[in-house]
């Protein structure tokens, strides 16, 4: 292939983006074209940003955390470029870049905040050295994709090793905490964490089975000091411990793990802003953050609320279950086993479902509905109906909810199908 000049490559990419938008096409496609025509495009554009690049990675909570980081940085007056669509591959970044650039080719931003899948992050940091990285967790997730937890950790270690400014780590996750040793000389390491009080609510995969003495397992290692600690929360009021004081703010997110992600986002914002941090603006913005797609999204159906809760690994499912009192809700669970869901459903056996005994489960659906029903039977949870067909199951579930607020725990592709169905009867935010 011959070399096209830069403005032409970009216009080609932007033309394709416009065309695919019109027919509602996939968001990474224009980026793919761009990548082929001008492989260095992404690296060159991002290198121009005065405050550099932030990479957000880890197995869980990337989308919500990235969204929070972007909003918190914007609250501080920064112009932020991000791969908003959740298309978190290198190609998605290129596609997002094209979308943000004016036709004269200037990226109007001070800093980039990019959500990257851990496998793709490895390739990305070879091209673009991040100034900051925010590494969230290594939960037992997508094992059929990456093989093993330790492999995932190694992927993240290359992100830590490529970071030039500050690495922000979750001190509660031993695999993430240990990434400090991968920091280059001169790169700062900072942590976010939990108070002793809250720590027992977050069992790690390692602790979930086998150790009967949870206290010993949790407190054994000496933990490094954290720049932001989630000290306590009740309802939507969360208290964060900063360097030498505590602040309390409202976080409109469902589930303790999302609130913990807010601590991660605050820690990163502190690193970027340093002394210039405007705490009042930060707390005001925190309140405005709405859940990202599928991460605790609440819709209204027949005048009743319906929550969609994405589940994809034992600890996430367990925390979702713990976030509300089961007997107050009509509950549905939908398990698919496509690539994006995780093809192996054995992780369901590592979730404790006893909290559903009171209230039972109204509907179990999805391709692996019977695996799920069998799992619930093993914990003595009453299942009213099993229906593998999601469309029928959803309609029947809504009918049978008897005016109770509804919640649906679902894997990724089940959630896409359910949102599509729901969009016929209620307002569902469009995600492209």
């Amino acid at each position: 292939m011959g070399c096209m000049s830069r403005p032409i490559t970009r216009l080609v990419g932007q033309g394709i983006r416009y065309a695919t938008k019109l027919r509602g096409g996939g968001s990474a496609f224009p980026g793919l074209v761009m990548e082929k025509l001008h492989p260095q495009f992404v690296a060159e554009e991002l290198a121009k940003l005065p405050q550099g690049v932030v990479v957000v990675s880890g197995t869980n909570g990337k989308t919500t955390t990235t969204k929070m980081v972007v909003q918190l940085l914007e609250s501080q007056g920064l112009r932020v470029f991000t791969n908003r669509t959740g298309s978190n591959f290198v190609r998605g970044v290129a596609a997002a870049l094209l979308g943000e650039m004016s036709l004269t080719g200037k990226l109007e931003a001070d800093i980039a905040v990019l959500e990257l899948d851990e496998a793709h992050a490895v390739h990305f940091v070879k091209m673009v050295k991040p100034r900051y990285s925010l590494l969230l967790n290594v939960l037992r997730d997508q094992l059929d994709r990456f093989g093993e937890i330790d492999t995932t950790r190694r992927m993240l270690s290359s992100v830590a090793g490529a970071t030039s400014g500050t690495i922000v780590l979750n001190r509660e996750d031993p695999r993430i905490r240990s990434l400090a040793s991968n920091a280059q000389p001169g790169t700062k390491v900072s942590y976010f964490g939990l108070s002793d009080k809250l720590r027992s609510l977050f069992p790690s995969d390692d602790e979930m089975r086998g150790s009967t003495d949870v206290d010993e397992a949790v407190t054994a290692p000496a933990l490094p000091a954290a720049s932001v600690v989630l000290s306590d929360f009740a309802g939507t009021q969360a208290t964060f411990g900063l360097e030498c004081r505590e602040v309390t703010g409202t976080v409109n997110l469902y589930g303790i793990y999302n609130i913990f992600n807010a601590a991660a986002a605050i820690a990163l914002t502190q690193e970027v802003l340093g002394e210039k941090l405007n705490e009042t603006a930060l707390l005001a913005e925190l309140e405005k953050i709405a859940p990202a797609f599928g991460r605790g999204e609440t819709l209204t159906v027949n005048g009743q609320t319906l929550q969609l809760l994405l589940v994809k690994n034992p600890s996430g499912f367990r925390l979702s279950l713990a976030s509300a009192d089961a007997k107050d809700y009509a509950t549905m669970i939908a398990i698919n086993d496509q690539y994006a869901d995780g093809r192996d459903v054995s992780w369901l056996w590592d979730v404790d479902f006893h909290s559903l005994i009171q209230g039972g489960v109204t509907m179990v659906s999805g391709v692996r509905a019977y695996d799920m029903a069998l799992r619930l039977a093993h914990d003595d949870v009453y299942v009213e109906t099993v229906n593998e067909d999601l469309e029928e199951a959803l309609a029947e579930f809504i009918r049978k909810s008897h005016g109770k607020p509804m919640r649906i725990f679902c894997t990724y592709t089940a959630m896409l199908a359910i949102r599509k169905e729901l969009s016929k009867i209620t307002d569902v935010e469009d995600v492209s």
Partner: protein, 259 residues
Amino acid sequence: MSQAQNLTEELGEEIITQTGNNKSLKIVQLYPRDMNIYGDWGNTLSLSRRAQAHGFTTEIVDYNPGEEFPLDGDIFIGGGGQDSGQSVVQDDLLANAETLRMLAQDGTPMLVICGLYQLFGKEFKTVGGETLNGVRIFDAKTVGGEERLIGNIVEESEEFGTLVGFENHSGLTYLSGDTKPLARVTKGEGNNTEDDGEGAHVHHVIGTYLHGSLLPKNPAVSDYLIKHAAIKKYGEFTPVVIDDSLVEKARASAAARPR
């Protein structure tokens, strides 16, 4: 397929049917702290409930490295781990190898999956060229492979009929001598990429790469372990007829999934 079904009767049967024969079985989970990666708890839970359905009281005991080995266990069960978990239990396992071999030869039923299956063989040669010694219950050698064998798996066993599960391993296992495969693979890879054997079976010890979890969807294997534990301990086993209609549906949907 998609008609509403009331499951209480199906499920209730299994829970309530306890004949109360005043007999008990001790189930020992081997290394649950380090080797518990693919829903291994599901196997222990399912085995315990199945034994209860057959009228036994059950006790579940954890065994982790360095603890006193529970010689009075009636059934031993162990799972897969990260490579890191595997190296943690390695030394402890070798220290108990003699005991485990003696128990196996004495007819104690055991089920070992993935990582522990590999370590119950003679040796495991890692991708890095290191050779780990195994427990030598199975006449089997495992060689670390570059590629992971991942996907749904279905296999046929003379003793257990159709077995369904999910495999995810990079080690390739080769059997020899008296050690026979557990089953012949009809969908998936199994022990290695050359022959169609999967798992291993000697005495009353079963090794397999199937998780998913294995026992909830393959109760024939649970029944086998319970039967031999009961015969060894009490001299006889009278099975209870258990309603497996929900299990059958889960088996059918799992077996129909693409590789």
